[in-house]
């Protein structure tokens, strides 16, 4: 059994994957039912597919993940920036690079986020910014959504950023090159 990518504590998700080896072929629909009948509350299996024998483990296949991020508190400082969507264009779409300092277990290193952010959109819902992100993921350049929003907050000149102020939902995971990403859910067959 292998999980595509661990989900951080406090995040929700509607797009998680794992691959398992089984001894004999079983019916996909019946297996979904059996698994869901035994699943703990809050977890549900939505799809069950057979992978080709040549498929790599999902953990090494993942190259990108999409997220929807918003603020838990509708009075967050970011909610009072009226031109936040325009500023986002300056921060992301028009920028050649987004340089940040990333703290790792081994120390600090400089990193250009720009080529690792594949999509960065904002929509305002009920006065609160909702971010739609597609980020590099996996073993080499794993970019957490908090890191991107933190850089954006710094660009906006907002004070002290708190990871806990965000409500983060992972929506899907992808494999392939940045310009031709495929959802892990679209790989494999019913039999």
């Amino acid at each position: 059994m292998s999980f595509a990518a661990p989900l951080g504590v406090g995040l929700t998700s509607i797009g998680e994957y794992m691959d398992i080896d089984i001894k004999e072929e079983v019916d996909a629909a019946a297996s979904i039912k059996t698994l869901n009948d035994n699943m703990v509350e809050g977890l549900a299996i939505t799809s069950f597919k057979y992978l080709p024998d040549t498929a790599e483990k999902c953990m090494s296949a993942v190259t990108a993940a999409s997220y929807v991020v918003t603020y838990k508190d509708s009075k967050d400082d970011a909610c009072y920036i009226d031109n936040i969507c325009d500023l986002k264009v300056k921060f992301f779409d028009e920028a050649h690079s987004i340089n940040i300092v990333k703290k790792t277990k081994k120390g600090e290193r400089e990193l250009d986020l720009k080529p690792l952010i594949y999509r960065f959109n904002i929509e305002i819902k009920d006065g609160v910014p909702v971010y739609d992100l597609l980020l590099s993921s996996g073993s080499t350049d794993n970019i957490k959504p908090e890191l991107v929003i933190k850089a954006f907050h710094e660009f906006l000149g907002l004070p002290e950023f708190d990871d806990l102020s965000l409500d983060i939902m992972r929506t899907d995971m992808y494999t392939g090159e940045p310009d031709s990403l495929i959802s892990l859910g679209d790989i494999g067959n019913e039999h």
């Binding site: 504590v9 406090g10 035994n38 703990v40 509350e41 809050g42 838990k72 806990l164």
Partner: protein
């Protein structure tokens, strides 16, 4: 998603939030409105420790089989959450429903070791329940404790409403039925406690009065204050292990518990009669489960949990009558399914080595001996029937089979121990190392053999032949460890030996609690109030706070730990009948003083008293 007692904001701040959210696979879900009795079953230590405990797994399953009862789990919040709960006035909750346990009918705690006593108070404190029984009223839960430490519940007598003395399977049904009756007719706490005190195994400390001798402070009398309350509490014993309730499912935690596997109890009690061992005395008589039942339970549990490992639980698995058949079954049926068999501590011989070589990587694993004492004289004193020949012979066989790591467990501070006995510990290890170099030709050796010696310090426990023995001051324990360490360095094969020993302050405190009486209660309360809890965890143990609490309450460590008790003294736990008689314990104490070995129960009945139960090894022998 269901409700959580802790907000996301709190869950994100604390270590391992999965400890507190419940909802584990195989956890029991009931509608609290549909039951008459809500029972909070608590292991007063951190989640990963508590979730590994078999006794709670058995009772959780058994109580939840009753339609009228919802048994939920509670563990000690780790200090990070403890502080947040205090700061924000969040009441302690049960994992399943996430409801505050203050509103439950029972809070039951299992006491597996003395060093959890302050955590009893932590649980009550966080729950918002009065710390002392006398301050609780009709609306408060009944606080009941069980487990091995309930065989001397006196040091915590003020904090509990009742102790359940013995194995939980027998009297809980009667207790819960009685509670329901009382609840139906308008609950009166005192009336319920009074009736409960008549149920076999139930001890209500408030109904007993203790007087002490002015001369030396020992107990003068220990009597019930009412005529209808029994003067002696009979420890409860399951007669037939095969028909006794055992779970078919076990909970699967979201974070790794210490015991992360199926645990199969193969027998209760032990035939050996080691004189230091409380479990070996209080769980008498030795009662085995039949091998067919075990095979069934193993299959069922592996299927219902998905665990990839199964382990056998018992005090001395090598003594189980059908171990060969059981191991063959597990190896044939489980290994092929990808399930590992983890071995309990087996006596090292040709049979166990054969089994071990099938389930473990010989080069990575080690063999374990627990001779508990280094010299034959000392082993005779403690009645550990393991000889040098057994050890060298077993080790030699293992070396031939490819093992080169040996672990040894010993105790220091045993009654009558001399420096010669201590020195015999590294000498024995040295002999085993020599056996390695004699047995394994140079070209076949994978480097040196590695022999690890661990010593713990002996703590006398109630209901053992050593219950009268004196302990030593912390410094003396360390001196003894130094004798062992110095002698180790003098050994020819010292480079193959490694020695670990324990801290000694906590040993002394454990000794005080183990044989304590109810005069300790105010000191434990003060220690908790001054910040002591999680005393079993080195990083939280603060001996100075304990010394201050003892001083304030005139508690003499000398009286509780260091003195030699008189064989005729009334001991604080004498009111409990563990079936093993005091006469037998005295006889065994005298045998110990004469270094005389007593044969095990299968060889010869020694008339310990447990025969009165009429089951297990006593029954089979007749």
């Amino acid at each position: 998603m269901k409700k959580l007692a802790l907000s996301d904001d709190i869950l994100m701040q604390i270590d391992k939030p999965a400890r507190y959210i419940g909802n584990e696979f195989n956890s029991v879900k009931k509608n609290p409105a549909d039951v008459d009795i809500r029972f909070a079953m608590c292991f007063p230590d951190v989640y990963e420790v508590g979730m590994s405990h078999l006794g709670i797994a058995i009772l959780y399953d058994m109580l939840n089989k009753r339609e009228d009862t919802y048994c939920e789990r509670v563990y000690s919040p780790w200090p990070d959450l403890h502080n947040l709960m205090k700061e924000r006035n969040i009441p302690l909750f049960a994992l399943e429903s996430q409801d505050a346990i203050k509103d439950f009918d029972f809070i039951g705690m299992t006491l597996q070791y003395e060093m959890c006593y302050t955590n009893i108070l932590q649980i009550l404190d966080l729950a918002g329940v009065a710390l002392e029984s006398k301050d609780r009223n009709n609306d408060d839960p009944i606080v009941i404790v069980g487990g091995p430490c309930a065989t001397n519940p006196e040091p915590i007598a003020d904090f509990i409403d009742m102790a359940y003395v013995g194995e939980g399977e027998t009297s809980y049904p009667a207790l819960l039925d009685l509670y329901k009756e009382h609840k139906a007719k308008g609950f009166d706490r005192q009336a319920f406690l009074r009736d409960a005190a008549k149920i076999p195994g139930i001890y209500v400390p408030a109904f007993y009065q203790v007087t002490y001798k002015e001369s030396d402070g020992t107990i003068e009398s220990f009597k019930p204050i009412y005529d209808d309350v029994p003067a002696v509490i009979d420890r409860q014993v399951v007669k037939d292990m095969d028909s006794s309730s055992y779970p078919t499912k076990m909970l699967i935690p979201f974070v790794r518990a210490i015991q992360d596997r199926v645990v199969l109890e193969i027998q209760r009690g032990c035939i050996r009669g080691c004189r230091f061992c409380q479990a070996g005395m209080i769980y008498r008589p030795n009662r085995e489960k039949s091998v067919d039942i075990l095979k069934e339970q193993a299959k069922e549990l592996l299927a219902s949990t998905g665990h990839e490992e199964i382990s056998l639980s018992s005090l001395s698995s090598s003594d189980y009558h059908a171990l060969g058949e059981l191991m063959d079954f597990l190896i044939d049926d489980c290994l092929s399914e990808g399930v590992n068999v983890s071995l309990p501590s087996l006596r090292i011989d040709a049979f166990s080595l054969d089994v071990m070589s099938k389930v473990q990587d010989v080069r990575k694993s080690s063999i374990t001996f627990a001779p508990e004492a280094g010299s034959q004289r000392m082993r005779n004193v403690i009645n550990k029937g393991l000889t040098v020949e057994d050890i060298i012979g077993g080790a030699t066989l293992a070396f031939k089979g490819g093992w080169n790591k040996v672990k040894f467990y010993f105790m220091l501070g045993l009654p009558t121990e001399t420096d010669e006995d201590m020195k015999a510990i590294p000498q024995l290890a040295n002999e085993v190392a020599a056996a390695y170099y004699d047995t394994v030709p140079k070209e076949q050796r994978q480097g040196r053999c590695q022999i690890t010696i661990s010593t713990s310090f002996f703590v006398p426990k109630p209901f053992t032949p050593f219950q009268w023995a004196p302990m030593y001051e912390a410094g003396e324990y360390l001196r003894r460890a130094k004798v062992v360490n110095d002698e180790m360095k003098a050994q020819l094969n010292q480079k193959s030996l490694k020695y670990n020993w324990h801290h000694s302050d906590v040993t002394v405190l454990e000794g005080v609690f183990a044989r304590g009486d109810r005069r300790l209660c105010p000191a434990i309360l003060d220690a908790y109030k001054s910040g002591c809890f999680f005393d079993a965890w080195g990083e939280y143990f603060d001996f100075d706070k304990w010394l201050a609490a003892f001083e304030k309450n005139n508690i003499s460590i000398d009286y509780y730990a260091y003195r030699q008790r008189d064989l005729d003294e009334i001991l604080p736990w004498d009111f409990i009948n563990c079936h093993v008689t005091k006469d037998f314990l005295k006889r065994e104490w005298n045998n110990a003083m004469n270094a005389k070995v007593t044969p095990n129960c299968k060889m010869n009945c020694n008339g310990c008293g447990a025969g009165i139960i009429g089951s297990g090894v006593c029954h089979n022998a007749r």
